[in-house]
């Protein structure tokens, strides 16, 4: 409908807007300063021999580093999966009207947010000093299976438990904020259509909460990528620790830290683009156009700057006023 109107306006003989844009000398000065500083930085990277770019290149794809990278990715992915699954369960428990459930969830979040991650990791690693044997069975009753803690909880398991359970506490708060962001009218509508609580959660509340959940969760994932380096205390050769093992031998500290950092940056870049993609998916239906993207925010905030204008996104029917 609106597209039609625009069509008629364009075909009619209406004078085009050809105004002189307002000048912004401040922007120009700022841009020049930034460019000069940037050039100086790149220059020193190239001419300073202490960076040892040859060494960096030599180790970038070495087996030791790649093995560490793999371990880091594995830990990040699994810890986030545990964190998100358990965190969502905790958030739903927290929102439940069952007092025991919501208190248990609150207690969990309090404990795991309130103690240092490092302590939690060491705790899981040394669980055998508290419980030499772990067993599964009827509460206060007979035992079905049982095993030595040292065997059951390897360094990797301890690292996963530490990172995942800790992450669940933070994720629970993020998911809770997301759930609270959904208007209660949505719950009324779902209930009046005969939807069950679970169905309402899955089909109505969580998909809308995602818009609020995804950005901080992306942040948490990128944070986790680097937090995994803390498991070096359990002598786990993840990316950073692998680099450290190399320079402990070769004394090429800086180049190897650069190798590790480049990998962290690369993975962060990939994760960021995945996050943007997911955000765009869950933004569907929000507002009348592509609201919720930074791009659109900039377009509106700087609408008076002619050069911030961006091409109309495909499929946005109601953008108007351009």
């Amino acid at each position: 409908m609106i597209a039609d109107q625009q069509e008629t306006i364009r075909t009619a003989d209406v004078p085009e807007v050809k105004a002189e844009p307002v000048r912004h000398p401040g922007n120009w000065i700022g841009a020049v300063v930034v460019l000069v500083l940037g050039a100086m930085f790149v220059h020193t990277l190239v001419v300073n021999p202490n960076f040892h770019w040859k060494v960096v290149g030599g180790y970038f794809l070495s087996g030791e580093i790649l093995g560490g990278l793999l371990r880091t990715l594995e830990l990040t992915a699994l810890a986030m999966v545990i964190g998100i699954c358990l965190g969502t369960v905790l958030a739903v428990m927290r929102a439940s009207d069952n007092l025991i459930m919501s208190a248990a969830a609150a207690l969990y979040v309090w404990f795991f947010r309130g103690t240092p991650l490092l302590v939690q990791l060491i705790f899981w690693f040394n669980i055998s000093s508290l419980y030499p044997r772990l067993s599964l069975g009827v509460p206060f009753g007979p035992i079905v299976v049982s095993g030595s803690s040292n065997v059951l909880i390897s360094a990797f398991t301890a690292a996963l438990l530490g990172l995942g359970l800790n992450q669940a506490a933070y994720t629970a708060e993020i998911v809770r904020a997301g759930i609270l962001s959904v208007p209660v009218g949505q719950l009324d509508a779902a209930a009046s259509l005969g939807m069950s609580n679970l169905m309402t959660m899955r089909r109505v509340v969580l998909p809308q909460a995602m818009r609020v959940i995804i950005p901080p969760l992306g942040n948490e994932t990128i944070g986790m990528l680097k937090t995994t380096s803390i498991v070096s205390v359990l002598a786990m050769p993840e990316l950073l620790y692998s680099a450290q093992l190399v320079y402990a031998r070769t004394y090429q500290t800086m180049p190897l830290l650069i190798v590790a950092s480049l990998w962290y940056l690369l993975v962060t870049t990939v994760l960021t683009s995945v996050q943007l993609r997911i955000e765009r998916h869950f933004a569907r239906g929000a507002g009348s156009g592509p609201v919720g993207t930074l791009h659109e925010f900039a377009r509106r905030a700087f609408a008076h700057h002619a050069r911030f204008r961006t091409p109309a996104p495909a499929g946005a029917a109601i953008t108007g006023g351009r």
Binding site: S192, L193, G194, M195, S196, R284, G285, G287, S288, A317
Partner: protein
């Protein structure tokens, strides 16, 4: 939607509802016959919304009896005692009646058509093709067939409310509850929603409508019920209540809205 029995569709017998210490409903008794259109009027805070929500069991009543199509809402009678129904039974009771809200409450992350078929497919387990076919005809009925793939945020308020009505209709309800369906709309959009409701009324849909649209009540309602302070002040055919109100408080209210 032609009435098949002569028991009332809604039967409220001295319904009380309190939130903590505030008594919002203080013994509401009224009936809505099958095929009847009843408009519920009254000043703000008189308990109209609360009463509608009780009919749908979105709120639990504190005392009295509330039946829809001869069944207690949210409870069953068992050896002279009331037993709460489980969530499943309550959901299926709700699926038999539909509610249209002041704020539309469409699902913003789903297209218009997805909104309309969501409950028939998920709740009533209808085949998607069947629900879609009927959903499209419901959308056509409210004049929005061409908007089926839009998102609610891309529609005007009047269009959203008509989608909400189509969503309600696609459940094939035996009773429709409207809570001030036009109060959030710009004046020029009120008419398109009332037109749809009027045509539903003509087709014999059983409707209980909370509204401030006196014109609609006068034309479309079989009966109007006036509430104030959680009780029914007066009820009767629109002509009688509007032209010859018996109660002083009715007169006072009508003098403000007429």
């Amino acid at each position: 939607m032609i009435p098949t029995s002569d028991r009332p569709m809604v039967e409220a017998d001295r319904v009380w509802k309190s939130f903590g210490k505030t008594q919002v409903l203080r013994g509401i008794s009224m009936q809505v016959e099958a095929g009847e259109v009843v408009c519920l009027l009254g000043p703000s805070g008189s308990g109209k919304t609360t009463f509608l929500r009780c009919i749908n069991h979105l709120e639990k009543i504190s005392a009295g009896r509330l039946l829809v199509d001869g069944e207690l809402v949210g409870y069953r009678e068992h050896g002279g005692k009331l037993v709460e129904r489980n969530a499943r039974e309550i959901a299926s009771q709700r699926a038999e009646m539909a509610m249209v809200f002041q704020q539309y409450n469409l699902f913003p992350h789903r297209t218009v058509l997805e909104n309309v078929i969501e409950a028939p497919v998920r709740v009533k387990k209808e085949p998607r093709s069947e629900a879609t076919e009927r959903g499209m005809s419901m959308l056509a009925r409210v004049g929005l067939a061409d908007k089926s793939s839009s998102y609610p945020g891309q529609l005007s308020g009047g269009q959203q409310q008509r989608v909400a009505i189509a969503r309600a209709l696609n459940m094939r309800p035996k009773l429709m509850l409207f809570d001030e369906p036009t109060s959030a709309l710009d004046p020029e959009l009120v008419g398109e929603v009332l037109d749809v409701m009027r045509s539903l009324a003509e087709e014999g849909m059983t409707m209980l409508v909370v509204t401030h649209e006196i014109g609609f009540a006068r034309e479309a309602a079989d009966r109007v019920v006036l509430m104030d302070g959680g009780i029914v002040l007066e009820s009767g055919p629109p002509q009688q209540v509007f032209l010859d109100p018996q109660h002083d408080r009715t007169k006072a209210f009508l003098s403000k809205v007429l």
